[in-house]
Amino acid sequence: MTAVARLTLENIVKQYPGCRANDGVDLVVNAGEIHALLGENGAGKSTLMKIIYGVIQPDEGTIYWEGKKLTLQGPAHARQLGIGMVFQHFSLFETLTVAENIALALPAAEARDRRALDERIREVSAHYGMALDPRRFVHTLSTGERQRVEIVRCLIQNSRLLILDEPTSVLTPQEVADLFSTLRQLASEGCSILFISHKLQEVRDLCHTATVLRHGKVTGACDPTIETTDAIARLMVGEGTPLSTDVPPADPGESLLQMHSLSFRSEDPFGTSLDRICLNLRAGEIVGIAGVAGNGQDELLRALSGEITVPAEHLTFQGTPVGNLGPDARRRQGMAVVPEDRLGRGAVPDLSLVDNTLLTASAQGMVQRGWVSYNKVRDYAQRIRERFQVKASGLDATARSLSGGNLQKFIIGREALQKPTLLVASHPTWGVDVGSAVAIHQVLVELRDQGAAVLLISEDLDELFQLCNRMGAICGGRLSPLLPTPSLTIEQLGQWMAGDFADSADAEVNHAVA
């Protein structure tokens, strides 16, 4: 390790209208160090990254790059200095090849010699164990491979600081392991890595030091290899917030929901078609579906909510075919859905909580002959707010003004209060603070204990293992077999997430026989 730190930030302040995203942040990243930047959604991690990568300018504070004071002109300037960034949402052109995508980020002189570039891509990717064919088109690559393209693109530019924004959220456990070995090799060769995450176990496995942000401020720095996950979580969420829910064992009853070889052809070229999905969901159980984003979770949710209709008998609920019914009719039968997009689907951003209550709870006696009784809607909204401790300035506050966690409590509460027999929830705790996540988990468990069936679609494996009594994975629109959680290993689930399983159709038959 050299005496001069590779990157030093002093007292970085960034003010956005209405919030102070970074409030006097100090950070030191040494050469060859894997440095974790931890914090909940909204803690200011992304803002800080954008400042380091030159996307935005800080209002106050100083940046030192290898000891020299620096004012970044923009991302091109940062790349020139040797700062590379891999965004959470990849910036790749799907219609171009790997080499073309990489050439786009290079100076014209280097980009022109394609043959040399191909050679360098092969060299770099082989050196770090990330096999890549420079001639392949990006749209044919898996998510993990696309991430490699992004990383190789940074490495070819001789990055000495690599910023990775939540890189593991799109990967299967096996891919995560591969990524980590690459990162360790990079660090050992002297490259500094800034690793943004909120997954504590990963940080403990990989990182040398960690800086924790909360509400735009640094709340602590620690050595993640020594600290326990609970201690680090405390730094992230602050005192007085419960960190997890106790989940008593489930007691499944009769079968409620059945998918019989449910298929759906997506017309969206970037969508995923559902392929003969079979699933049997019983009362009083939580079934989990893991999977890497974009593998058909959204389509499955829409097929269950009624936004996508299928032949009636492909989906039966309490013995009745419901596949051809729309969302409203299904809700009347007791099927409730919590979509992953809170703002813009589960709730209308610019309407009040009262109006957003009416959105899906209208069948609870709020509308008579086309007339809305706003008193009843208000009462209902108030009950949601009290029962689920939704923090809002009032019932007339817009959905947009609520924090992610509070809005999610409101949406889950709105569905739970209607006493559904089935609740399908997609990524219910995505981007939610730990306190709200615990509350949301409690609601799901309560519903289960009241005899409802809960289907939990999530990318958060910890959440799935904690709550579900059976689970499987979805990959490319196909559903893996479902196994009881205690007998399922994370390796097995990882293989399923990567698509390594026999057809769910056959598996479900076997399961039913067994």
């Binding site: 689907r345 709730a347 209308v348």
Partner: protein, 372 residues
């Protein structure tokens, strides 16, 4: 340095203050225009805004012009709340006028009390049928309603011209392109005796109030609002999107058709090519000026009606072209759209000055958005 900055929360003050500010700026600009034209600006503004309504007759004329504007605007409000950008009120209006005329000319000898309702119904049905074309194109072929409704306006105008030059032409009218005069039984009763103000204004006020009630009390109004705010949420909630589009278009078409029918059975008494001075287009300004609220569009329609009267007064008193009406309407819309920017944004002098910190909840959402 001057910069526009997004407000944390939309400004309520600007939402309702913007039309007033736009009107003030329009008057100021009008003042300058008169100066440039070498006319006395004070006198010009007085002739435009005050003289037309300085007596009972003037107010009656104002009401007369308000009626079609407000009827069209009420219908458009239903569409615009759902963010269905129907520009076709002019076409619905013209087809309503043609439809009413067809019915009225069938009963030129009848004196029954049922003639007038039938004639008005003819207008409503024709206007609604015309709007159905755009609705069908939108719901079944995903055609952009802005384009289809504008094009349908031209088709409607040419159908009107065809009608007055052909099948509906008065056989004893010396070949003038106009229909025969309607029978008295097909004409709207007067609201104030001795003036031209007819009961069409009552229809219009009723329509505005009805639209207000739809959006504040009924479920279909709520569904339209959600469809406009957030189509994804409407789909998630399971609202019947196509049916809502049809409802909005039919209401807009029916009301604009009624406006057209009220014009031919009111002040004109026959079908003529120039039945509309652009009411259907001006109604668009009324809706935006009136903030898509019942009271707002009533006030807005009165103001825009005044611009028609003012333009006529310009011709009579100051020998200026009627285009002054269009000038003032254009200025008003231009300033309104400009001022509306300040609902969501604020002007700031110095980008480096300290900013007040908003409530924590707002801060969290903003950040969450950025994290994404």
């Amino acid at each position: 340095m001057l910069s526009l900055e997004r407000r944390g929360v939309d400004s309520r003050l600007m939402r309702y203050g913007s039309p007033v500010l736009a009107l003030v700026l329009t008057v100021v600009t009008g003042f300058l225009v008169f100066l440039l034209l070498d006319r006395d600006p004070v006198e010009g503004l007085r002739y435009f805004f005050i003289t037309p309504i300085s007596d009972r007759h003037g107010w009656a004329e104002l009401g007369l012009k308000m009626a079609p504007l407000l009827l069209c605007a009420a219908g458009l409000t239903v569409c615009y709340r759902a963010k269905l950008w129907n520009i076709g009120a002019e076409g619905h209006f013209l087809m309503g006028a043609v439809g009413a005329s067809i019915v009225a000319l069938q009963f030129s000898e009848s004196t029954g009390f049922w003639v007038l309702p039938l004639v008005l119904l003819g207008g409503v049905v024709c206007g609604a049928l015309w709007s159905m074309i755009a609705a069908l194109l939108k719901t079944h072929f995903h055609c952009n309603e802005i384009l289809t409704t504008i094009m349908l306006n031209y088709i409607a105008l040419n159908l009107l011209l065809f009608a007055v030059h052909g099948p509906l032409k008065d056989p004893f009218g010396f070949s003038f392109p106009q229909s025969a005069m309607f029978a008295d039984s097909a004409l709207l009763p007067m609201l104030i005796p001795g003036t031209r103000l007819h009961i069409g204004l009552l229809f219009a006020l009723l329509a505005a109030v009805a639209v207000g009630v739809i959006f504040s009390r009924t479920f279909i109004g709520f569904q339209l609002k959600v469809l406009g705010e957030d189509p994804q949420a409407a789909a998630f909630a399971g609202f019947p999107q196509k049916r809502l589009v049809w409802f909005a278009f039919l209401v807009a078409g029916g009301l604009a058709g009624l406006a057209g029918a009220s014009e031919v059975t009111g002040p004109i008494g026959q079908l003529v090519p120039q039945v509309s001075p652009g009411y259907g287009y001006t109604a668009i300004i009324v809706v935006f000026l009136g903030r898509m609220q019942a009271v707002g569009i009533i006030l807005g329609s009165a103001l825009l009606a005044l611009t028609f009267l003012g333009g006529e007064m310009m011709q009579i008193a100051m020998n200026l072209p009627k285009a002054m009406t269009g000038l003032f309407q254009g200025l008003l819309l231009f300033y309104l759209l400009t001022c509306d920017a300040f609902i969501h944004y604020r002007l700031r002098w110095n980008a480096k000055a300290a900013k007040p910190v908003a409530p924590a909840s707002a801060a969290n959402t903003t950040l969450a958005g950025q994290e994404r």
